[in-house]
Symmetry: none
Subunit: 270 residues, 2 copies
Amino acid sequence: MAGTDRTQVAAEAATRGPAIILVRPQLGENIGAAARAMLNFGLTEMRIVKPRGGWPSKSARAMASGADIVLDRARVFATFEEATADLQRVLATTARPRGMVKRVIAPAAAAKQARRADAAGEKLGILFGPERTGLTNDEVAIADAAITIPSNPSYASFNLAQAVLLIGYEWFRAGPMPKSPASAKAERAVATPATRAAILHLFHHLEDELDRGGFLKPPEKRPRMVRNIRNIFTRAHLTDQEVRTLRGVIVGLVGRPPIPKRPRSKVTSP
Amino acid sequence: MAGTDRTQVAAEAATRGPAIILVRPQLGENIGAAARAMLNFGLTEMRIVKPRGGWPSKSARAMASGADIVLDRARVFATFEEATADLQRVLATTARPRGMVKRVIAPAAAAKQARRADAAGEKLGILFGPERTGLTNDEVAIADAAITIPSNPSYASFNLAQAVLLIGYEWFRAGPMPKSPASAKAERAVATPATRAAILHLFHHLEDELDRGGFLKPPEKRPRMVRNIRNIFTRAHLTDQEVRTLRGVIVGLVGRPPIPKRPRSKVTSP
């Protein structure tokens, strides 16, 4: 199962998704961290325009541990124009308004555009500027829209890999969710919801023991007390296993097995 | 304009939002990066449980540049229990299913819960485990729900600050929740959520009695049994009144008052 998921994800990543374009990144570490952030969300197409530290980059490689597939496939371009030449849609991340007439969208909207482009067979790229300065106005100008990450206006700086992470996160969220892995199924298997009958038996067991211990007194208060206790356990959405556990707990506390069942005409009425 | 924003954000940050709880973080750098990620989204309440490198931390400070306010206010706790004692709701970030019956929610749903808790005046905390190992099962067990970040199943590891970043992002995006109507207030009056400390006392009372009755045997099974039982009650979101009711139920079942408290060095560890 897990193997299948992996293959599917790899296949999807190989053929789909926006190109992540790092424009003149200054630090190899950030390229490596961006590669990891991409792979976290199934993106594998990285393009790099004139990395300041040259290419290949040891520091990128060291930082990308486990996400080497992204660096292995990364393409390096000498100019911004070459890196964007084949794209049909371009979005530019910007931290601040550029005083230009450009639609500004949030990451979630950008992700939806990227998914739509994918579905339409169009190639879309997302631009990320240099760490210190961001994209130039000319670079932003060729984009169809600017992406701005909503954030605390008095502390809005994101590092390169964080910006890639948030865009990747939204890309992943916008798409079809992967099939639940085998482990989730296993978890469900141990979590069969208890039947109402099993829960009522639990309640009766508990209430019988509480009656014997003289807890549910005075009689006029009994209905309300029983209701309150039942409420607690009802809200927990008990599983079969948990009902058995709780019956064991009662036996453990009172130190004797349940009293043999007596017939009840109205089982729910406390 | 910007000045107004700043003041508003500072005021909001000072009084609201979930506590971000870093449990036994290994690297000061990650604490500093988490502080930045928090401030990016207006969160300022950081709690740190037993940081491996000690506290204060030079490396945290160096990495937090500009987000010093978060570190200045950070509170360090010797134990997990102290760090969570005053919380009324707890969410635990986990990378993998834990084979326990625990609701798993996405960051967006967690953010909505946090906003609702804020609006209701309840204190909510979000747990982040150590970098290498994550939270222990016992730590996850006391949480109301587990948060898992949706991601590429074959490459799902996030570093600590990235996980904090994504949670903070969703918190910010979820925006302030509308004030709860008067009826909700009335309901709250009779239904104050129990603090984590009250719930732990309940657990200890129950477990002490079960130990005395010989129920939690053999010893190698005890931790799992305790966790399963705790999970049931955690999921019920107990109120103060319900905790008192359940303690009465235990007394009613065993026929004696609680054993006088013995000092516990590690209260959660069963």
